[in-house]
């Protein structure tokens, strides 16, 4: 794929690797981000992978935009033959409960039993296309079509962190408490964002996520272990399908 460079002021540029939202384009963006982070060019400040493009932020006192384009183009050629590995998280979810304000409505709307809906949601593999909107908030692709549901017209004022949501074609794990128009079906005890933790952010763009149903009891046990500072979930390192 041919990269298209768009200057973004004098401190940044956007390199676009495709038009739409698809796995191959997003993989290329994430591999490019990883290559730049592994070997940053002099003057690079940060990179932000998104659905189909990479934002590259740099210090214009150290390097000019034209030279940054050349550096990024060179990394693209390097990464083309060396696809990266991915992390796969198994995220425990207690479906139902106080946070799952939309579970029953969604079952009724889609003519699915509770168990069927849970099986559909927890049977799919999701992909973190990008992080944005809030600290550690992962935009997840891979939601089964039957579960696609429009957002509420009027957002709720306060949805807790850990709430498992559906918004249009996307799925989410709420990373901070706040207003949201997404539809919620359960809660994970994991904290996608914890500023006090050594690694404040659980997920990164490119991660794969599977939801594992747990009981209310298991949810509480996990919450207690997390509160005690224990690490309860470690991601697997995988080579994604079609990328071996």
């Amino acid at each position: 794929m041919t990269p298209v460079f768009h200057p973004f002021g004098d401190r940044a540029l956007t390199v676009s690797l495709g038009e739409g939202i698809d796995v191959a384009t997003n993989d290329a963006v994430i591999d490019l981000a990883a290559a730049l982070e592994a070997q940053p060019f002099v003057g690079m400040e940060e990179v932000v992978p998104t659905y189909r493009s990479l934002l590259v932020v740099f210090d214009p006192l150290v390097i000019g935009g034209a030279e940054v384009e050349a550096q990024v183009a060179a990394r693209l050629t390097e990464t083309a033959d060396r696809p990266g590995t991915r992390r796969r998280w198994h995220v425990p979810v207690c479906y139902g409960g106080a946070v799952a304000l939309d579970l029953d409505d969604l079952c009724a709307e889609k003519k699915l039993g509770r168990e069927e809906l849970i099986a559909l949601h927890s049977g799919a593999e999701y992909r973190v296309y990008m992080i944005g909107f809030a600290p550690g908030f992962a935009y997840l692709g891979g939601l089964p079509e039957r579960l696609h549901t429009p957002r509420l017209q009027k957002p709720r004022q306060l949805v807790p962190a850990g709430a498992i949501g559906i918004g249009g074609q996307q799925a989410s794990v709420n990373s901070v408490a706040g207003p949201s128009g997404w539809r919620f079906i359960g809660q994970t005890p994991l904290k996608a964002f914890d500023p006090a933790r050594e690694e404040p952010f659980l997920f990164a763009a490119g991660d794969l996520i599977r939801f594992t149903p747990v009981t209310q009891e298991e949810f509480e046990t996990l919450s207690r272990r997390l509160a005690a500072g224990e690490v309860v979930v470690v991601p697997e390192i995988v080579v994604p399908e079609g990328r071996e």
């Binding site: 200057p7 973004f8 002021g9 004098d10 940044a12 956007t14 932000v48 934002l55 935009g65 990164a204």
Partner: protein
């Protein structure tokens, strides 16, 4: 060792230079709206450039320290006083323990800075002290300051001298156009709409905060629609939502967005835009990337020259020993001896406390 907030303007927050490298996790840098004014405030107090200061929107407040310190107010002209004695902005002054520092309204600008020697020593959160108001991170409990708050003060590191720039700072050139680079999504707009961007005036509206500043002006419809596949954003981006009213993203902006960004304010002009008072009209001017890069270098060089050229202020400390040694009755004395600061003030750099004592 604390700085007490006796009263606070509507938006006073702790800001250092901001968080770096976390945009990919959804956290923008925050940091000052006017980075050069922030840098000057720290330099005037002998602080390192990454020390945290207080930023205020429009109105400062009243402050009291339980230890003597040096302070400086930058960002624009405003009334400053210590126990009722008026003082000038853009230079450092002493505040003794228990004295009340009052900072009034900024007269012609929007964002002011109060630095104190030693800096504000609130805890580091993900590598910085900056308050990120939207997510409640950093600063004091992640929020704007209010009366009764007490802020920990850091260890003083600079020499105990009062400083000012070698020459008075020129006022911001608000009449000059704000320079922009087109893109990244200028292609979403028809040529005649792009022309409006530079041929018509825009106005700074009251809908502004640390995240963004909404502009009034000509309608800016996007021919290809106002929804893009969400991508990364930076401060300075001029994004145009469906309302057709552009908004300029600022220090605490979201890290990704789904609106087309028609153009981007160059880094050398972003603090000037941030400082424009509400209601001010402005013009945009398109420049090439190389010109924007040259402007960034020029701005950095001129700031570095100001910071490097700070001079010690003329101060006369009359000790009782000194007064006793003078013939105060006869009025016969050597004027040079009374006013040691009378020597030309152009001495660049910072003299140490020991040297200063030697002078008096």
């Amino acid at each position: 060792m604390t700085l007490e907030i006796l009263s606070a303007g509507p938006l006073v927050s702790v800001q250092d230079r901001g968080r770096r490298g976390l945009r990919r996790f959804g956290v923008s840098a925050a940091g000052p709206m006017d980075a050069p004014a922030h840098a000057l405030a720290n330099a005037l107090c002998g602080n390192p450039q990454d020390a945290a200061v207080l930023e205020f929107a429009g109105m400062g407040g009243q402050f009291r320290s339980d230890r003597p310190l040096r302070f400086a107010v930058t960002g624009g002209d405003c009334d400053i006083s210590v126990d009722g004695t008026p003082l000038a902005p853009d230079e450092s002054h002493r505040l003794e323990a228990g004295q009340v520092l009052k900072i009034g309204m900024l007269k012609n600008t929007a964002w002011g800075y109060l630095a104190v020697s030693g800096g504000i020593d609130t805890p580091l959160v993900m590598g910085a002290r900056s308050t990120h108001l939207r997510f409640g991170l950093g600063g004091l409990c992640g929020r704007a300051l209010k009366a009764g708050d007490r802020l920990p003060l850091g260890e003083e590191s600079g020499a105990d001298v009062l400083l000012r720039p070698a020459a008075p700072l020129p006022p911001p050139r608000f009449a000059d156009p704000i320079r922009i680079l087109l893109g990244p999504q200028d292609g979403y707009f028809a040529p005649h709409v792009l022309e409006r961007l530079t041929r018509q005036d825009f106005t700074i509206t009251a809908q502004r905060d640390r995240m963004a500043s909404i502009l009034d002006g000509p309608d800016m419809p996007a021919e290809r629609g106002h929804d893009i596949v969400s991508d990364g954003t930076v401060p300075g981006a001029i994004q145009v939502p469906g309302s057709g009213r552009p908004m300029v993203l600022m220090a605490e902006c979201q890290t990704t967005g789904g609106y087309p960004k028609i153009a981007t304010v160059i880094s050398a002009d972003l603090s000037r835009l941030a400082q424009m008072p509400t209601g001010m009209r402005l013009r945009f001017a398109v420049v090439e990337r190389t010109a924007a890069e040259a402007a960034a270098r020029a701005q950095a060089a001129s700031l570095a020259a100001v910071l490097k050229g700070l001079v010690t202020k003329q101060t006369v400390t009359l000790t009782s020993e000194f007064l006793l040694s003078c013939d105060l009755v006869g009025g016969i004395f050597d004027p040079e001896a009374v006013a040691p600061g009378n020597t030309p003030e152009t001495t660049p750099g910072i003299v140490s406390g020991a040297e200063k004592k030697g002078e008096t």
